[in-house]
Symmetry: C2
């Protein structure tokens, strides 16, 4: 029909996934929604899933009505003019407080990720007093979904669980990978040579984060698009962990 | 032919761009390469261009043979076991040294970007002693290319000049935007509401960085793909600057 050559990478939003509830079978919900819109998953596709629906399916929801804030949480809450019960939940999910001011808390989660409020979030959760936490083990969540899609659709896909994080030095949030299955999140080019025969130095690319970031372009905060399929990316299909993306402090000159 | 519905976002690598030399007309080189592979640029496309070819076209190349290192550069060079002439060039391109150890220098460039070696890079530059610097004004480079493509092809596209930066807390490099034209690099969702009527807080998305990151998946270090066209992204077409992506220190809790 068109003279346009095929593109190298395609991103397809999966729409029509209903409000996810604890215990829901995400693999089945994704399969049904993809089918409804005529999208066929294929081997080598990367299924990128918003953390929020993974957390909901896993029941990682807390009603603030059930939370009794500590004195420390009350102190922060009063300083930041925020609900001390929310602060209590953030503290419970954190291994360390990285920094805080009068508005925001940046913490290191128990997984080792550094983000605002330990990833605890009120948005896109139904019920005024409910908040969602990050999955306990996002790599495991990813692997479970990978295996379920293999079972339902006989496809060998990679999975990325993504959340939207702030970062140092630069304004604005981007989607990053917090869980992976069926892929190595980093691609190491060290020892390889460029087109002019010079050895490439310090070139380890965060492939999983670049894929996650691309899906942030479709997973708008106000659009109900919690799943995006990325097709055409060349990646290392060996099993990996999103924890490989966490930089040890002694090697981090950007802090 | 296929039952597959159209994808939402497509990335297309432009191949066959020759080695770029000072004074080359990038708009013309891109136009010709796109034509050769049967790719037609369209209004609303985002043309993402690797910093390296922009720098080459603008003659931002230095032969280390012409550089006399200062005592300070010699000292760092000896400590890091690196060419003191390269260090001298890095220092010249830097407004501040953010941190350094025995291997790497993280500096703030004169534009305000924070990256390794002020973006000075030997890879993919021909000639053993030649290095490439970042463009002096990457927004201007982007606008020049936007206008040239409008002239040549009668298309209204946005441009992103991208480079590959490291970051705090996370391993691996990702592509980010260092220059933009024809787009706002940030998308502000504050004041808008989610699907459950809750106001979205602290939600400013770094759209230009997410687009740049997506193209990092095709601009492999060893592949000769310096231009990727991104189609299907919804973005704000007003004129912006990549400097909007630089976070002021007093608002940066992630450092």
């Amino acid at each position: 029909m068109s003279s346009q050559k095929h593109s190298d990478i395609q991103l397809s939003a999966i729409r029509g996934i209903p409000e996810v509830r604890p215990g829901d079978d995400l693999g089945w919900l994704i399969t049904r929604a993809a089918e409804t819109q005529g999208f066929q998953l294929a081997d080598g596709d990367i299924v990128v899933v918003a953390q929020k629906i993974v957390s909901k399916a896993e029941g990682r929801l807390v009603n603030l009505g059930s939370v009794t804030p500590s004195d420390f949480a009350r102190e922060i809450g009063s300083r930041q003019d925020r609900d001390p019960r929310l602060i209590e939940v953030v503290l419970n999910e954190s291994a360390n407080i990285v920094r805080m001011d009068d508005h925001v808390m940046i913490t290191e989660t128990k997984h080792g990720f550094v983000c605002a409020n330990a990833g605890v979030d009120r948005s896109n959760v139904s019920g005024k007093d409910w908040v969602a936490l990050l999955p306990v083990a996002p790599d495991d969540s990813a692997l479970l979904l990978k295996n379920r899609l293999a079972e339902l659709l006989k496809v060998n896909v990679a999975i990325i669980v993504t959340d939207t994080f702030g970062r140092a030095w630069r304004e604005g949030l981007t989607n990053v990978a917090i869980g992976v299955a069926g892929m190595k999140p980093l691609k190491d080019f060290r020892g390889q040579h460029d087109d002019h025969g010079k050895e490439l130095s310090a070139t380890v690319l965060a492939v999983a984060d670049e894929i996650a970031a691309s899906t942030g372009l479709l997973m708008r905060k106000t659009a109900r698009i919690p799943v995006v399929i990325v097709r055409g990316v060349y990646f290392d299909h060996r099993e990996g962990s999103a924890k490989e993306l966490i930089r040890p402090k002694d090697r981090d000159l950007f802090r």
